[in-house]
């Protein structure tokens, strides 16, 4: 695919008006155009028709051939026009797990008072997305791309093409919006580690668990209503925060997912996958968990935000 040396291609296809994060309007120098196979067939047909018209001295035959040639020209310019002036703005990418398909949303905007039909976008050269942009409107397309490897997946050069209106010419351009998708490691389901396994983490003893009742604390927004001590609340004066039962220790205590626990397996990606599996399992079970990676320590908690933070750390681990 890459016929051009990278610096040349970068110069040719780089964003001119944009750093890649703000909307780009396609200018005429970005849009390329070439005849399609159908266009070549059309040209060959025209040549044959012209010979016939000359041989039989058909005046209207000449006119028809020339009208068709003109149609080729106007079809070429209109194919070009279908792309020129289109604005492309990057959207927000949802993270995916490795092995899934990442979707890169692009917002295509059309200032013109007529729709732009039959645009085809592709990030990987095989999976194509078709869309139409309404007159003076906007549409959003999600470009699929295989997320094979854990880490940050950058959106490569996108091929945006259109054969509309006649299919004789294909106009295309290579916008390159700066978009990355976070690819979490592929989770591997293994049994959760024992909470006590974190032997060296002495200071963590006494942290909240779910087994042994140890008193009350004021409720925080993240606390489940199941843990509110409703009887105690009824006894306490009004305008006080609701008391929450505090539990300590036991198997329901928080989990620590520590890189060191797995480090001796020697396979980084495997370790990350196992850790990812643990995060998902703990989150599903509602058990607070902490994550410790070399250079990263995330204190125990639960919830979507926490999960996202942990998975993000796992994805970006290097």
């Amino acid at each position: 695919m890459n016929l051009l040396p990278v610096p040349v291609a970068d110069w040719l296809f780089r964003w001119r008006q944009s750093d890649g994060t703000s909307p780009l309007v396609l200018g005429q120098r970005r849009v390329f155009i070439l005849p399609t196979r159908a266009g070549l067939l059309f040209a060959a047909t025209l040549a044959t028709m012209l010979l016939g018209a000359i041989n039989y001295s058909l005046a209207l035959g000449h006119a028809l051939v020339f009208l068709l040639a003109g149609l080729g020209f106007s079809g070429m310019v209109q194919a070009f026009r279908n792309l020129v002036g289109l604005s492309i703005a990057p959207g927000r990418c949802e993270p995916v797990f490795a092995g899934e398909i990442a979707h890169f949303p692009l917002h295509l905007g059309n200032l013109r008072d007529e729709p732009r039909l039959a645009l085809t976008l592709s990030a990987d050269g095989t999976r194509q997305v078709h869309c139409d942009v309404p007159a003076a409107g906007q549409t959003t397309v999600a470009l699929p791309l295989d997320a094979r490897v854990r880490g940050l997946l950058e959106l490569p050069r996108v091929r945006l093409e259109s054969r509309f209106p006649l299919g004789l010419f294909v106009a295309w351009c290579y916008p390159r919006p700066a978009m990355t998708c976070v690819v979490y490691p592929k989770p591997i389901a293994t049994p959760l580690p024992l909470p006590t396994a974190a032997a060296h983490a002495g200071e963590r003893h006494g942290l909240a668990g779910q087994e042994d009742f140890a008193g009350f604390r004021p409720r925080q927004p993240a606390d489940s209503p199941r843990h509110v001590a409703w009887k105690a609340a009824a006894r306490s004066p009004a305008n006080q925060p609701l008391p929450v039962k505090l539990f300590l220790g036991g198997t329901g205590a928080e989990l620590l997912f520590d890189w060191e626990q797995l480090a001796d397996s020697g396979n980084t990606e495997y370790c990350l996958s196992v850790l990812t599996g643990w995060v998902l399992a703990a989150e599903a079970a509602g058990i607070p968990y902490a994550l410790a990676l070399p250079g990263v320590a995330i204190p125990p908690a639960t919830g979507d935000e926490h999960r996202r933070r942990c998975l993000d750390a796992l994805a970006r681990f290097s």
């Binding site: 067939l41 047909t45 028709m49 041989n55 058909l58 000449h62 051939v65 020339f66 068709l68 026009r81």
Partner: protein, 646 residues
């Protein structure tokens, strides 16, 4: 390498478009195609439609192969060839019908449209009239709209597809005009035309016998058109000369290949220059006005004064000819020629021979004998009619002494016979007489119904002299045409005998339009191209100049198109445009909105800073916001508010 991408599937909604396209480009061919093929094609279209309605897959490959084989065999039987023009058209129609039955991918559909464009061309083999042009332009639009629909997908409504096709076609027209005018024209054919390239069309017969001209007169077709450069001569001298018949076999006058010196013409009056546009008649006669003096290159005058083209006239052609209507032709004729024009069969028509001998023995000179013969026709109740009774073995005797009804060929033939019998060299000339001036464009139109035969006698001292015995019987034939001369009820073509003034006027207009079409559109040939170039100031342009001009013209057109594509790129909301115009007016008064300042904020700020402007600006800002963002846009109110800010 990359894996081969699967072909894009044919989107269901485009199939009806393709069927309609196929119909539009094949229907006019039903006239030319054998009936079985028209029915088969119709069956194919209906089957394609039925498959589409049911969403059924295309029929199997073996079935289609069988259909191709059977169809080709049928064409082979009908035309005895698979090549050539008509068989080729039949093959294209067959393939069109079958291709519609095997459409799976978008590429198949594109092939159908390409085939449709090609089929459009084949119609011009048969007709290049205005009506054909209009129908084919419509079919062209439909074919283009189906391409648009094919690539535009379901979001492209029929109306949008047609509009887009119209826009594309409108943008193609400048290129067409430039290419039509400047593409280096080659006078065809490039290679031998197949036998069926030109079909027989009506024209002057090869022999003159009773009925041979009368048959032709039944056609209202146009034979040629003439435009005189100087004042038009009188109608009764408009004799357009075709073949000359010198050999009489008892019933028919035949042409005889003659060689001899070129005719000697003494011009006595003024020369008449004119331009003649001849319809194809597959013969060599140029039908020049008697007597031709200057002919176009590639043609010559025969010893019998017929203007003869080097090759048969197979296409409409235009010539410039100079003639003189007052002339003397071969006052000194060769003995050989005189002998030839005195020959008669040894027996037959005894009464006519006796009559001629009687005139001769009465001591009349040649001119007086001719006069006697004409008096015979005018004084004895001869009738000029398209429906003469049949004649017996001695046809001339029967005609002269019993039936006395005939058309021009009877009179010319009988007259020439009498003259030869009396010892005066004479012969029959075929051609056209008269014509009709179209007041709309000034062209004279000569039709097949103006076909005529007359006689020519050689008189000592005067040479060959035209004598039209028909004029003696029916002077109206020469003065105003055949419709005025024959009895009412004779089967003349309707066009020729139009009596209603407005119908006649309508016909004049229609024919003038057709003539303009023929002259300027269809008749655009290498000569006209040279004329145009010399008018453009390039009198000696060769093909290189043409190509350069062509490239420049097309380049300009393309540039214009690209400018259009780029200019309409930022379509702005009309309300925004009006607001920006308001801002421009404020800027002239020194009011510039701060960065990010909304219209309403600007209006509020002005109540402090420029109270005299605050009112109009507030109204403008409110109208703008209401129009741009409100539920019911009202551009009128916005315009009124803008006007207040003058």
């Amino acid at each position: 390498m990359m894996a081969r991408k699967p072909l894009p599937a044919l989107e269901r909604g485009s199939t009806p478009w393709l069927i309609v396209t196929a119909l539009a480009v094949t229907i006019p061919h039903t006239d030319e195609l054998p009936i079985w093929l028209s029915l088969a094609a119709a069956g194919g279209f209906m089957a394609a439609f039925a498959l589409w309605r049911r969403g059924a897959p295309p029929p199997g490959r073996w079935l289609l192969t069988l259909a191709v084989v059977v169809g080709c065999a049928g064409i082979l039987v009908t035309y005895r060839t698979l090549l050539g023009r008509d068989a080729g058209v039949a093959m294209l129609v067959l393939f069109m019908a079958l291709k519609l039955l095997e459409m799976k991918s978008r590429r198949d559909a594109h092939v159908v449209v390409t085939l449709a464009y090609f089929l459009l061309l084949t119609h011009y083999f048969y007709s290049q009239s205005i009506a054909t042009g209009v129908w084919l332009l419509a079919a062209f639009l439909i074919a283009t709209a189906s391409l648009v629909r094919l690539y535009g997908g379901p979001a492209c409504s029929p109306k949008a597809a047609l509009r887009r096709a119209g826009l594309l076609t409108a943008q193609a027209i400048p290129f067409m005009v430039i290419l039509y005018l400047l593409f280096p024209r080659v006078a065809g054919p490039l290679w031998g035309l197949p036998q069926d390239a030109n079909r027989a069309r009506s024209g002057l017969p090869d022999r003159v016998a009773p009925g041979s001209i009368a048959d032709l007169v039944l056609s209202g077709e146009i034979a040629f058109r003439v435009r005189f450069e100087n004042p038009t001569p009188d109608r009764d001298v408009l004799y357009w000369r075709g073949p000359v018949f010198e050999q009489f076999d008892g019933t028919a006058w035949q042409r005889q290949p003659v060689s001899g010196p070129l005719p000697a013409i003494e011009v006595r009056g003024s020369r008449i220059a004119y331009e003649s546009t001849l319809e194809p008649h597959q013969q060599v006669w140029l039908l020049a006005l008697d007597a031709p003096l200057a002919l176009p290159p590639g043609s010559q005058v025969s010893p019998t004064l017929s203007a003869v083209s080097g090759a048969p006239i197979r296409q409409r052609q235009r010539f410039r000819i100079e003639s003189a209507t007052d002339f003397r032709f071969n006052p000194a004729e060769t003995d050989e020629s005189r002998r030839r024009n005195l020959a008669l069969p040894p027996i037959g028509n005894p009464r006519a021979r006796a009559l001629a001998a009687e005139w001769r023995s009465a001591g009349l000179d040649d001119g007086m004998i001719a006069k006697r013969a004409l008096e015979l026709f005018s004084a004895n109740g001869f009738v000029y009619t398209l429906k003469p009774p049949l004649l017996g073995r001695d046809g001339i005797d029967d005609f002269l002494f019993s039936s006395r009804q005939g058309f021009c060929e009877h009179y010319a033939s009988a007259f020439a016979f009498l003259m030869r019998a009396a010892g005066i060299p004479s012969r029959v000339v075929g051609g056209y007489q008269g014509g009709e001036a179209n007041p709309v464009d000034g062209y004279w139109v000569v039709r097949q119904s103006d076909a005529h035969a007359w006689a020519e006698v050689w008189l000592p001292g005067r040479g060959w002299t035209r004598i039209d015995p028909t004029a003696a019987v029916a002077p109206a034939r020469v003065e105003s045409g055949v419709a005025a001369a024959v009895p009412a009820g004779d089967p003349l073509p309707a066009l020729v005998q139009l009596n209603s003034a407005w119908l006649r006027d309508l016909r004049y207009r229609w024919e003038a339009v057709n003539n303009a079409w023929n002259q300027y559109v269809l008749g655009y040939n290498p000569d006209r191209q040279r004329e145009l170039l010399s008018w453009l100031g390039l009198p000696d342009a060769d093909w290189r100049n043409l190509v350069a001009l062509l490239a420049a013209g097309c380049g300009l057109a393309l540039l214009g198109l690209v400018a259009w594509a780029l200019a309409s790129r930022a379509g702005t909301d009309p309300a925004l445009r009006l607001w920006q115009r308001g801002l421009a007016r404020l800027a002239r008064r020194g009011v510039v909105p701060a960065a990010g300042e909304t219209p309403l904020a600007l209006a509020r700020r002005l109540t402090q800073e420029r109270p005299e402007l605050a009112g109009p600006v507030a109204r403008l800002a409110k109208a703008y916001c209401a129009t741009r963002y409100g539920p019911s846009p009202d551009l009128g109110a916005l315009r009124a508010a803008l006007a207040a800010l003058r």
